[in-house]
Symmetry: C2
Amino acid sequence: MNRQTHTADWIAVDWGTSRLRAWAMTRSGAELSSGASEKGMGVLSPEHFEGALMDVVSPWLGAGTVDVVCCGMVGSRQGWVEAPYATAPCQALPEGFARPDVQNPLLRVHVIPGVKQTSPADVMRGEETQIAGFLSLNKNWDGVVCLPGTHTKWAQVSAGEIVSFQTFMTGELFSLLSAQSVLRHTVAPTGWDDDAFATALDDAMSRPEATAARLFSLRAEDLLNNLDGAAARARLSGLLIGAELAAARPYWLGQQVAVIGASTVSQIYGSALTSQGVPATIADGPRMTLAGLTAAYKSLNS
Amino acid sequence: MNRQTHTADWIAVDWGTSRLRAWAMTRSGAELSSGASEKGMGVLSPEHFEGALMDVVSPWLGAGTVDVVCCGMVGSRQGWVEAPYATAPCQALPEGFARPDVQNPLLRVHVIPGVKQTSPADVMRGEETQIAGFLSLNKNWDGVVCLPGTHTKWAQVSAGEIVSFQTFMTGELFSLLSAQSVLRHTVAPTGWDDDAFATALDDAMSRPEATAARLFSLRAEDLLNNLDGAAARARLSGLLIGAELAAARPYWLGQQVAVIGASTVSQIYGSALTSQGVPATIADGPRMTLAGLTAAYKSLNS
């Protein structure tokens, strides 16, 4: 492929707190190239966003101005430009993209708004684009979308709208407990045990009110019975995901569920839901993000 | 007070993971002096315990050998000498103190064993001494002892024995979530709001299975409604303590409860229990430790 074929018709950008990922795209939505950097929103002040973007996308620029469509924390108050939240219920792809000031005349940057919910208070930035991507690939789909990650979201979707949603800190709790609490001596940094996960999940789902009592037992079983570190890791995950599934039951019970996320964690949620008799479709997170950014690009010109 | 009056008949030591606290005592159990250092078990290898102890207690040594009675993590496998766990149900002050090798002929060191429970697996080191201290000051007391802290313990006590107990990681969860999770942007490092605490406590106790869903709402309410940082701090505490109290209900329901711990956290647990119609006696943690060490010293010579 020569240099010329890499010139993008438009550029898709997923810009989160810790990472920037960009794709050079054709008008019809095909991917020409991709790139990434660690210059997430969390390490940038407003004047440095344009340079961080150029570091990744400059090889894809030609003679004319291109649209750059961004989602994620880049649109937060501490980001490049604030893209005020749309309020649920609302279209998964909210209107009113924000436009930061840009020096380079080759770039026309659009930032997709996040979505907020008034009561109970909740917010998302980036997941709305993944949901929009999933809906663009699955027309007229109604159901519940689960987006596992650092902060897992559950969203009720109907007629192309995000009706309601709820965030769980399960991924962040797992990281903190496994790496920074007293359980770090017990929980292995890698490894897995399906049976240990399943048992802990059942435990937590059948008596979620006792979850707070079960965490330290991992440490105690290690001290008294040399609990295997991989089993401990799977049990901690099972307890936390079980507590989440119990609290999210009003979302998934009797619904069709789509799980959108990274492969490993999506499989874990998918099998947990299946064990509850809920069939779950698994969709790849980055692919849904790109589909959502593509839908947003198309809406610019419609 | 001259140098002579500081010579100890015996020395009491509370030696935890992060701190050493020692008291110069008379034979009858009166306190002559006290000292402390940051040389906790967590920063010492076995050959350095004696020096760390001498740094604090050397001013109290006279011509003869004194008993030094220690409790806490100093008796763990990673400590000075392993004092194997007694198995509950057992006396609050278990028999079989461990004796580390000591170079200095003026020191005769005794380490109180911790207590373990086989099923559900659980362990304590140090709290058994506080319970023994409380029982030495409250003869024939039966009921439930709550020891709030980094790892809060609930213990059922009857006829001088620890019958069963359970550990909750509530204090550590509060530290991790308030200082290291996304909630650090929302939760103030100090400050309090009684109403916010009470409401969150009620919420968590009435629907503990939904606790996992409530944590992120603190962040969302901050972003959307500028939630006050002190109120957020009290709400986080209320959610976590509420989830603990819900899981510990089999311990405290219909029981008399003694709360042993630092003043602020003990008052919080005491008022939470009172709000549930459970009268709670509050006892000072360090004072109970010293009473327990005194009971242990007396048992040496009985």
